[in-house]
Symmetry: C2
Subunit: 354 residues, 2 copies
Amino acid sequence: MSKQLGAQSIRFEKPVYILNSGSVVGTKEGAGPLGKKFDRVGKDDWFGCKSWEDAESTLQKMAAETALEKSFLEAKDIRYLFTGDLLGQSMASSFGVGSLGIPTFGLYGACSTCGESLALGSMAVEGGFADRVLCVTSSHFASAEKEFRFPLDYGNQRPLSASWTVTGSGAFVLGDESAMNSYVSDTTSVVSQGKRIPRARITGITVGRIVDFGLKDSMNMGACMAPAAASTIQQHFQDFAVGPEEYDRIVTGDLGKVGQRVLIDLLKERGIDISKNHMDCGIEIYDESQDAHAGGSGCGCSAVTLSAFLLPQLEDGAWKKILFMPTGALLSKTSFNEGKCVPAIAPGIVIERV
Amino acid sequence: MSKQLGAQSIRFEKPVYILNSGSVVGTKEGAGPLGKKFDRVGKDDWFGCKSWEDAESTLQKMAAETALEKSFLEAKDIRYLFTGDLLGQSMASSFGVGSLGIPTFGLYGACSTCGESLALGSMAVEGGFADRVLCVTSSHFASAEKEFRFPLDYGNQRPLSASWTVTGSGAFVLGDESAMNSYVSDTTSVVSQGKRIPRARITGITVGRIVDFGLKDSMNMGACMAPAAASTIQQHFQDFAVGPEEYDRIVTGDLGKVGQRVLIDLLKERGIDISKNHMDCGIEIYDESQDAHAGGSGCGCSAVTLSAFLLPQLEDGAWKKILFMPTGALLSKTSFNEGKCVPAIAPGIVIERV
């Protein structure tokens, strides 16, 4: 049986475990509905640094260190690193986890990079190229505003369709059967060291296409990204021959409230109803009182929500199987200023309780 | 036997063929020593567009189409696309090959992205995740100057250690045994259609670490990148238990003349002499009269040189085995303005004549 499924998907034959993960966020995320679930919350959003870019790099390193600590591993135990962020030339990663000295693949999938890193990371593990990999992605509200929009001091008004870039980084240690066994086999420490037995694995992926619906509004990225999510979800169901009922939750990355509505409508037009089990990390991470408008966004949004909220739901047995689908809006300052559209991409990751 | 070799490398057990490739360049590259070898040379560097960014996207699409045509394939025959460029948020790719509709992985490894795309592309093929993948990377002198340095009209003076970003894009179709067989089996057309039998395969890779020697001069990127190349070459020899004599050529991406000297010296200090078989794409692509100073650079530099010059040397039997190692300097406008160093990365790809 081929691992290749349908037009865009892969079903993994060998298990790829999520050994453990780490989540670090800023103050606004810490004050939100998921606040108590994150591993670490910053005292402020500077993380001891003097520039927003350095703050984001530090955030990323903290998330990676947390994931490694929780997995009882060190950087040298990781074969390959898959990493990316939103900044020009992925600078948060180059100066962040890049410094860990792990052989590195730099990725760019805009806010969907967490999904891309998990997709390529699982392929590396399942293909036998690595026993353990680390997937780390981040975003920071202030570095992203500087990169994409207006100087913070300018006090620009944001429309209600705009999202709020999450200050946060999520890191995931993926491992093969042998990595899982060596983690678990040290039974004495499972209790004494408070080890958690990994209870989630990645069983398949659907790689996203770049979808361009001709939308140009960078203050309504949910609407720009919804068509890409719809495309991947529809193809995913076709490739795996399943429907929405297969999943306890279908979780998009950062469509927010406007994008969620567009996604559900687009899929309804195609005869697919995900309204009962759709969830969006961008909607979960802030509450109404936090003035985040449409919701959270950024690579960090889906990454920290997966680590702190979604994985525990699988591990605790509340859910058995989810389709995790970070969404990325492909724009830059230059493309925006040149009046280009905002195409988008959405990779889908199937995560199951072991 | 494990595919994992030493600390950073992979030896492929199943063959990964380079089915064919395409190279498209600008006028300066067309006028250089490799000029006649490229598949297509632009009449000018606008490629029919009104912005440099669009010109680069078009360049990329042309390279992809050329590689597909030469492989007698269409976009729909390609399972996954691995692509990247130098622009902020990889915009040349999003609006370039992104529009081909192939499920996509976006990459960022600065000028080393060609190597990164070949590494991940081969892993996807060898791991059984794809029968055929397309690896496309590009750079454009004018879009890169705008992104990283000064407006062209400013007429900034360039020191002799500076390199010249290559306007060019290289695209590579990688395939597994079945893809190779289906390409070759149509024997009537091999002669009648002028088909070239693929004669090169990727047999191993060494994934690069991010190396930071504390250098800050973005006008001397060769020196910034040489330590990363030295690190990967040294590790490669250790992982594969070989020495420089194993390779007809050890080909770096865009160190240029200054970087080449630094690399050879750094390795000599470590007891490794690559002076006899080192070659650098950045040195090959322009000649002295072209005022390119240290040499060519950019994702496109190593990509078009591999396609138009290195692969034919393997196919014609002049060489049997090369270590191809694009080099990437990790900097952005922001990191430069904030006074940060320029770390670098260099992935190594072993390419052998079949």
